[in-house]
């Protein structure tokens, strides 16, 4: 039994006169204790909306959520708002992309951390302050007692993200959701933060749902990877399996279109043509078909289903998957 089980999640915006748009269209995945699961995709694929829905942070008006998401056996979407609030912060916590706007600019870091400790762990006064300092130390912020008195703008980007992580892990949550936690950071700082997240997962056994567009980050961090396109999972596999044998033309194309630091110079990239706007509705066929070199008549008649054309546990939503290994090898070499 997994810690978090998401089953056929759909999220629809609009309605009531306005044009409906389906941001997430039947996404399923599981996250185990001590496991890192990645949701990967480009802007508009529904990855961030999924994380907000799981945390219960979507507005109640104008949004329809379908499907189930069970956390430790209880359905998140049928839970009472107060139970949800208690869960949030204590059992599930979230790390956002922009640390500056996720911190209250007029309250010192220390107060923001102790607030959480007081609310969820019932710590008071000196005890809470001590624990807060310990937490900052834990996430690698030097001189934590001094930092507690500082305001968010006095910290650098990397320090802010650390502070945010400290707040997220304040109540030793069993589940962390990180939405592009390193996108706003420089690459050397990103390496530090990723190292910290790895350490949390390894030492505390926290489950981590990692949402990112950066395949490089995924390759180094995630155990299980779900590639999303236009609101649906198009490929889901273990990390080595996915990067070793990308089978959906989209995942395959993505890997071929990224310039790699270790690739010989001068080798032309093989881009995916068009943009995310060039899509057809999933109901009519494969949303990726207009950008795909391999599409067939079969891709344009009804929604393609997830199958396992290559290996058990390696799910691919494609009628004409990339199965010839010679080409896949060439990409990963």
């Amino acid at each position: 039994m997994s810690l978090l089980t998401v089953d056929e999640l759909t999220i629809t915006f609009g309605g009531r006169g306005r044009k409906e748009s389906r941001a997430v269209d039947g996404v399923s995945f599981e996250v185990d204790q001590g496991q890192v699961v990645g949701l990967v995709g480009e802007s508009g694929c529904g990855k961030s909306v999924t994380s907000l829905a799981l945390m219960g942070l979507l507005p109640s008006k104008g949004v329809t959520i379908g499907g189930r998401a069970e956390f430790d056996g209880t359905d998140l979407f049928t839970m009472s708002p107060s139970a949800r609030r208690d869960l949030r912060g204590s059992e599930m916590a979230m790390i956002f992309q922009d640390p500056l706007s996720s911190l209250n600019p007029v309250v010192p870091i220390g107060v923001q951390v102790t607030e959480i400790l007081e609310r969820h762990r019932g710590l008071k006064g000196e005890a809470a302050r001590k624990e807060a300092a310990h937490l900052l130390d834990r996430v690698g912020i030097p001189d934590p007692t001094r930092r507690l008195k500082e305001y968010p703008h006095q910290l650098s980007g990397g320090m802010r993200q650390r502070a945010l992580i400290a707040m997220a892990v304040a109540c030793a949550p069993r589940m962390l959701i990180a939405d592009e936690p390193t996108t706003a950071l420089d690459v050397t700082i990103q390496a530090q933060i990723l190292e910290l997240l790895k350490e949390l997962v390894d030492q505390e056994g926290t489950a981590l749902l990692m949402i990112t567009h950066d395949l490089g980050v995924v390759a180094g961090l995630c155990d299980q990877v779900n590639v999303l396109y236009a609101g649906k999972t198009v490929e889901s596999a273990g990390r080595r399996e996915l990067f070793g044998h990308p089978t959906h033309p989209y995942a395959h194309g993505l890997l071929g279109s990224i310039p790699r630091l270790d690739a010989p110079r001068g080798e032309p990239l093989t881009p995916i043509r068009g943009s995310i706007n060039d899509r057809i509705a999933w109901a009519d066929g494969c949303a990726f078909a207009p950008r795909c070199d391999r599409y067939e008549m079969g891709c344009l008649t009804g929604t393609p289903q997830l199958t396992e054309p290559r290996a058990a546990g390696h799910q691919v939503r494609c009628v004409n998957p990339v199965l010839d290994d010679a080409k896949a090898e060439e990409v990963t070499a």
Partner: protein, 419 residues
């Protein structure tokens, strides 16, 4: 003689305070003495993190910011000394492609009007009819349909907008195009389209690029020569392949080891140099070597007092480090913990490893005897051959990352503006 030569370029922004009369209370040393040469038909890549001054440097070449000191010589003309109107006319030969494709296009002008703007300013084409013909041929070159003319920027996708931005630079037939983060605002799948387009255009039109980017992988892909910037100055410059094969400056080493590679095989085995602390403020840069506050090899004496100059170590590989040779040969011991994670593969993977060693350069490989001088900073991991992909025990050192001291972590807020 090179097409574009920068010599000792400095851009210092005054920090002003005061209600009625502004007093200068200090300077932000955004660019602090950069010299480089860009050869005709080549691509020079400038790489560095936010706040290193790479964007300011790019803008200073176009005189979009005032150059405090130094010279920018394009084809024999020193731009830094050109008076206003002459500079304006000279801009035809230097064009820029911006990071934010939407923000750099006037939302209230249609594409034809946007692309005509430069031609009108320089009196190219005698009437709109002639200009339109030219615009159509350029649109075709960058892969946009000619019916784009009457449309507005918000009606295009990100990649198409960047094509418009490139077309705008191309209509003036410039000698040098400065690309400031040309792909970083685009979706991953679209980035390759734009990178390939830049490559194709260079081949077809013999363009010279100065590419500014934070993404080392992108820069390496398109550049012939790469310059690495840190806190306002170049720390290393080398031909693309040489820099990648053997980065000599400690900062380059760290930067390169931090770039994620979309391949678990590489990711699991590479050595990572985690830098301590954050970028110091360019308003108050450290003495001596700018990097000594974070350098894992920093020496007590010389690094903090004497500012290293770029010196040629052969084959056009220039490095601004006093101890580049000693670090390369492994003579110099690490002076602070780096969180280097050395991984020795289990027996099952040995064959694969030796195979890869030929291809994967030193920095990506497991630490060998030369790069593993300090046993306390190195954590060994010997996983079994049957190790599950998710099983990791690494990273315990990450906690010491910032042990270097709180002073190294000044806010980098203002650097976002200058960088």
């Amino acid at each position: 003689m090179s097409l574009l030569e920068l010599d000792g370029v400095k851009v210092h922004f005054p920090i002003k305070k005061g209600i009625f009369v502004d007093r200068t209370v200090g300077h932000v040393y955004a660019v602090d003495g950069v010299s480089l040469k860009v050869e005709a038909g080549e691509t020079y890549g400038l790489v560095g993190e936010s706040g290193c001054g790479k964007t300011t440097l790019g803008r200073s070449v176009l005189r979009l910011v005032d150059i405090t000191e130094g010279s920018v010589v394009l084809d024999g003309t020193d731009l830094a000394k050109l008076p206003g109107e002459e500079m304006r006319r000279f801009r035809r030969r230097l064009q820029m492609v911006f990071q934010d494709p939407l923000g750099s296009l006037n939302p209230r002008q249609n594409i034809e009007s946007i692309l005509s703007e430069g031609m009108i300013a320089h009196g190219i084409g005698k009437d709109q009819e002639e200009r339109r013909e030219k615009i159509k041929s350029i649109l075709d070159k960058v892969g946009l349909p000619s019916n784009a003319l009457s449309r507005y920027p918000h009606e295009f996708s990100g990649g198409q907008r960047q094509r418009i931005g490139i077309a705008r630079a191309l209509v003036l037939e410039p000698d040098v195009i400065i690309c400031d983060e040309p792909v970083s605002a685009l979706d991953v799948s679209v980035q390759a389209q734009v990178i390939n387009l830049l490559d194709e255009l260079q081949e077809e039109l013999g363009l010279t690029y100065l590419v500014i980017a934070h993404d080392l992988a992108v820069v390496r892909h398109i550049s012939d020569t790469i310059g690495v910037m840190y806190l306002g100055s170049l720390v290393e410059e080398a031909p693309s392949d040489a820099l990648y094969a053997e980065p000599k400056h400690p900062y380059t080493k760290a930067l390169m080891s931090a770039v994620p590679v979309p391949d678990p095989e590489v990711e699991d085995r590479r050595e990572r140099i985690l830098l301590t602390g954050d970028l110091p403020s360019p308003a108050n840069p450290p003495s001596g070597c700018r990097f000594h506050t974070r350098c894992p090899w920093a020496q007590a004496e010389r690094c903090a007092t004497e500012r290293p100059q770029l010196r040629d170590l052969g084959d056009g590989h220039r490095v601004a480090c006093h101890f580049a040779e000693e670090i390369a040969s492994g003579e110099l011991a690490l002076t602070r913990p780096t969180g280097i994670e050395a991984v020795t593969e289990g027996e099952g993977a040995v064959v694969e490893q030796t195979e890869d060693e030929a291809k994967v350069p030193a920095v990506l490989l497991p630490a060998d005897s030369t790069t593993k001088p300090d046993a306390t900073a190195v954590k060994e991991k010997v996983p079994s051959a049957a190790e599950a992909p998710g099983d990791r025990t690494a990273g315990a050192v990450a906690k010491d990352l910032d042990a270097a001291g709180p002073d190294a972590s000044d806010s980098d807020k203002e650097q976002d503006k200058t960088g």
